[in-house]
Symmetry: C2
Subunit: 656 residues, 2 copies
């Protein structure tokens, strides 16, 4: 028998799995909180959204506003990186209940003398709660009510009195929402970034030589010049010799084959060492500094696995699983075998030491200046490990970002984001049709998923050369570039393969993933790319990245909205800033083989346009300007010349 | 740093608000439980649904089955009334993981000698967990594996071994779902019932006399003859004299006016007393027995409010709120005043005593044999009170049912159901168009709402004479009868007003609720109804209730499904048993003024029909049989003669 508050607070959004996981925001973004709040009877309610930085004990309060059907809303803006908490409190507003009743009685011409006395009592109670000058003012109001007459009614229903009493609301019977909710706030780059991946060893100026960090520095102007702000490099550690893979994933390496960078560890060291042919740790630090001067950050690969030559294998044999014949269990996905890689055994009895060591590895690279990690295959390690590791690191360094490279089942991908990954690879590479793209990106950006999952869009990776790119050639690369860069505020390409439209498969026509391997994959050999190869996409990429930087609408995914077209080969979508000062409309011809034309079916309400309003569409790719009117406008796109429009709706024309 | 289970269990259904509230079932119904279950990596998983009666400490387990996309399912049937618990446990199935890998290796022609040894170790571990004969059998299997060779592989992949190991699965690393979920199981009548409401005082055989419980007994054959199984009577307690209401809610009663039965309490007693003019407590007990012999239960009204003459007012003045002038606060909904009713003050400091007393009232009537309560306006009393009261009573008497009479905002109606009400009134009375009915009943029956909210459909009540009935006359009553009785497994009518098509408003054309008051409302006067009035619906009601009893498809709401028609005036829907042995298709002309015709657009898949299959539609209302084929069939309905079809798809024809 417990007499709880009469007020109910439920159906709070945003909230992930009953408050078990934090939501995500970046600095300056709003957290718009809503809840169903109600009580028995007909009393007026009031409430507040409470929020605070995790390290600040005091709550800041924002009044909740009723938006209809017992739904209430308030918002706060997260001002800096770190963890913030938010929750809700609501109570019966006895003064407002009384005032709204009084107004009805007065309207009905009833004698309200006794009712005004009840109000006087409520005001006196507020006076007792208030201190100082407010107490005196409230006492004076109470006296005015007790004096009665028409003047008392005027006072009773005055806004000043309502505001004054509200400031000292009685919360004795308040309901506090049971969940203390958390928002993890990251820096801007978590929300908006353009990544470029290259293999440092392929950066030498002349063919045949192993590239170095110094060569990477020389390549920075090229990458920064295209407009990228994150340079991601595959593992830079010593590469094992035992069972090293040869060209095209051959079981036996030739004497000069460099091996896969993901076969980490050799006599020269493991996860905190640098591959000698790339240079020294100092060279790497210099690369970080040099990148910074080009407006770029280096993202390092975290691949927690070992070559048979990794120092861990001898120093910590207990971290590997042994087979009954005494050999160490190498990586497998039966019937496939990866003899050049030993997985770490996260179920080892010595798991505490293993976890600590891996955390030490991350701290080591943070100490070198790295603040972004691209995590290789996290879905093959326990969720609990990542939740702990990311939690530890973010507590010490809330500016560190982790990109989750898991291409696995949907619920596992989402779980990894919930437990802490800041950004996540997506299925974008394999979503090609209008239905697929609309369905998937609506799920990512317009459902609860957007509260915890930050999509990172890659049209290709060293492992993923899709059938669409193999089949569609240069126009396909252009289409996928525009889609990645405008559907996703975060996107990246694996270059120079991408901008050179490299699309020869190691196993054409085979089922994926075999067919998605590059012929002469850079994973197993040093490449010398001709960056000026005819037909390269450097100009388009530069232009698209410039458009991204110039248009705040493209800095976030939350406003993504799909519009209709009468041709399934034409995909149309928009992004906009909250104030609609910047509205981008993209139309893409998804067919890399044929020109396609058709009519748009724009959701004008979404774009803030009236149905008969003329407006100007400025194609930021071609520079052309088109006069449009209403929802239905003609579009024709030739994949060979212009596979997409990236329109900005010109503010001036919109008001014309 | 905690090394939790690698297995995740989430997105469990059914579950209300993170497990805070129980779901509802009736005896013999299934609880189909689903969850997302997955782990890192590629191991095989296994798990069980656990369930138990609340008073039985041991769990019963049902294996979970993977149904795709990491979703798992299992079910159990609740065998008797009371509270049951259910939850989930899942673990890495190391033997199955090993066996599935081994099969792939064997398929790829690999040497598996070492792998078979690993399996032997897993089987030996199972043998250690097993007792008795299974231990010995497992040990023998392990020996067979250790012997190696082709025979060992055959043994390794055998179903017998898999089953035997599964029986002794190692759950050391199991994940237990965090929520202990509850299902409240009621008797059948909670799910399927036909209610009839009448005023006992209007049951006298001759005009002008106050009806008695004996008169009610004489009326039972009439009510039971129409096929109703619950008889609900407004409050039977002494009625106050102070501020008693006169005819048509007049402020002053005439000397012979009987007053509103909801103005409870007089010098003769309060909530546990019987109005002397109705008879004695013994007479009421006899009515209960007599009703039982007619296959009916009596539902009593629980209206926790008092007339100014109620004994509580003098015995417990602390249970009422006093105004500054010393008077007791009467019920109000400003500017309306209900001076004949004092609300109880649930915020009294003496709330414990008040709650206990109201619980005593319920127990008192349970002791008289009442097992169903229709609760008047629960939304004007605290949620916490009802949660406690219903919990107490159900603990002692799990067969007791409470019907929630709250016509208020949607979230409050749902909350009352979540906290314990067994059945709930709905907005049915005001849902008239095809869109309104489809939208509302889809929400009630095809979303999570169905797990906690049991709709009870009333086309009229003593307070609700809808505009549709006022305007549509007899055909409107027929339409609403068919809708109520087939859309809702639970439905009721307020008679004899309903079957006599009484539809004169006290304030025609006024806005509701004033216009929804009956002219010469039975709430304020004794009525003498001519049960044989021409045009009455007794025959239709009898037929519809007979159809309900004969067709199990109509005993539940969970299978309700709306089908298309090409005429918005025609509403088409179906209900069916799980095995489709009984499939009912209803087509209703929602227009009470004009004949309407059109073509159905049946969802054949839902009905288990092939697109070209002929089948026979047997109209259980008219007796006619129609040969139909495919989704599109012609229907014409005349509101004057036959406003609806209630078809049964004939099993024989379906297989023709």
């Amino acid at each position: 028998m417990e007499n709880e508050s009469r007020v109910v607070i439920e159906a709070v959004t945003p909230e992930i799995d009953g408050g078990r996981f934090p939501i995500k925001r970046t600095v300056g973004e709003a957290v718009v909180v809503e809840a169903d709040i109600f009580a028995d009877g007909h009393d007026a309610l009031a409430g507040v959204l409470r929020h605070r930085r995790e390290d600040v004990p005091e709550w800041t309060e924002v009044p909740l506003v009723h938006i209809g059907n017992d739904r209430w809303r308030a918002a706060f803006t997260v001002g800096d990186i770190g963890r913030f908490h938010y929750t809700l409190v609501a109570w019966i507003d006895r003064f407002a209940s009384w005032a709204q009743d009084l107004a009805k009685r007065v309207g009905a011409g009833q004698d309200v003398a006794v009712n005004v006395m009840i109000g006087a009592g409520l005001v006196e109670a507020a006076a007792r709660r208030a201190g100082g000058v407010d107490a005196a003012r409230l006492a004076a109001y109470a006296d005015a009510l007790r004096a009665g007459g028409p003047d008392a009614i005027r006072v009773a229903l005055s806004d000043e009195l309502a505001r004054l009493v509200a400031r000292h609301a009685g919360r004795a019977d308040a309901a506090a929402y049971g969940n203390d909710l958390v928002v993890v706030v990251d820096r801007d780059r978590a929300r908006f970034s353009a990544w470029y991946e290259f293999f440092p060893r392929s950066c030498a100026a002349e063919p045949g030589r192993h590239g170095t960090f110094a060569d990477c520095e020389a390549r920075l102007p090229y990458v920064a010049g295209m407009g990228f702000d994150v340079l991601y490099v595959p593992p830079i550690h010593p590469i094992g010799r035992t069972h090293r893979k040869g060209k095209n994933n051959a079981d036996v390496a030739g004497p000069d084959d460099p091996g896969s960078p993901w076969a980490i560890g050799a006599v020269e060291g493991g996860h905190t060492a640098v591959h000698p042919q790339l240079g020294t740790l100092e060279d790497f630090q210099r690369l970080i500094g040099s990148a910074r001067r080009h407006g770029m950050e280096i993202a390092l690969d975290l691949a927690f696995q070992c070559s048979p030559d990794h120092p861990y294998v001898t120093e910590h044999p207990e971290w590997f699983r042994r087979r009954p014949d005494g050999t160490i269990q190498y990586a497998e996905n039966p019937p496939k075998k990866y003899q050049d890689i030993y997985p770490l055994d996260f179920e080892t009895r010595d798991w505490r030491a293993l976890w600590d060591e891996l955390c030490r590895v991350v701290r080591f690279w943070i100490d070198q200046g790295v603040r972004i990690f691209r995590v290789d295959n996290p879905h093959t390690k326990p969720f609990g490990f990542w939740q702990w590791l990311i939690g530890e690191i973010k507590r010490e360094h809330p500016d560190v970002l982790f990109l989750c490279e898991a291409f696995t089942r949907p619920k596992i991908m989402y779980r990894l984001a919930k437990i802490g990954f800041i950004q996540s690879y997506t299925y974008f590479a394999w979503r090609n049709t209008r239905y697929e793209l609309t369905d998937y990106f609506t799920e990512l950006t317009q459902t609860v998923v957007r509260e915890f999952y930050r999509p990172h869009l890659w049209p290709n990776t060293p492992d993923i050369l899709t059938a669409y790119l193999q089949d569609g050639g240069r126009p396909a690369f252009a289409v996928r570039l525009v889609l990645a860069a405008t559907l996703g505020a975060n996107y990246g390409i694996y270059g120079p393969a991408f901008e050179l439209c490299e699309n020869r498969s190691a196993a054409p026509g085979a089922p994926p993933p075999a067919s998605e391997e590059y012929l002469n994959s850079e994973k197993y050999e040093i490449k010398h790319w001709d960056l000026d190869r005819p037909g390269n996409l450097r100009g388009l990429i530069t232009r698209v990245n410039r458009i991204r930087r110039d248009n705040p609408a493209l800095w976030s995914d939350r406003s993504l909205w799909f519009h209709g077209t009468d041709n399934d080969a034409l995909l149309c979508y928009s992004k906009q800033t909250a104030d609609r000062a910047n509205v981008i409309v993209v139309v893409v011809n998804l067919d890399p083989h044929r020109p396609q034309a058709g009519w748009t079916g724009l959701d004008l309400g979404r774009l803030g346009l009236a149905s008969d309003q003329p407006y100007e569409m400025h194609d930021l790719l071609s520079g052309a300007r088109h006069g449009w009117r209403g929802a239905s406008n003609y579009v024709a796109l030739n994949p060979e010349t212009a596979p997409a429009h990236i329109f900005r709706i010109e503010r001036e024309a919109r008001h014309a």
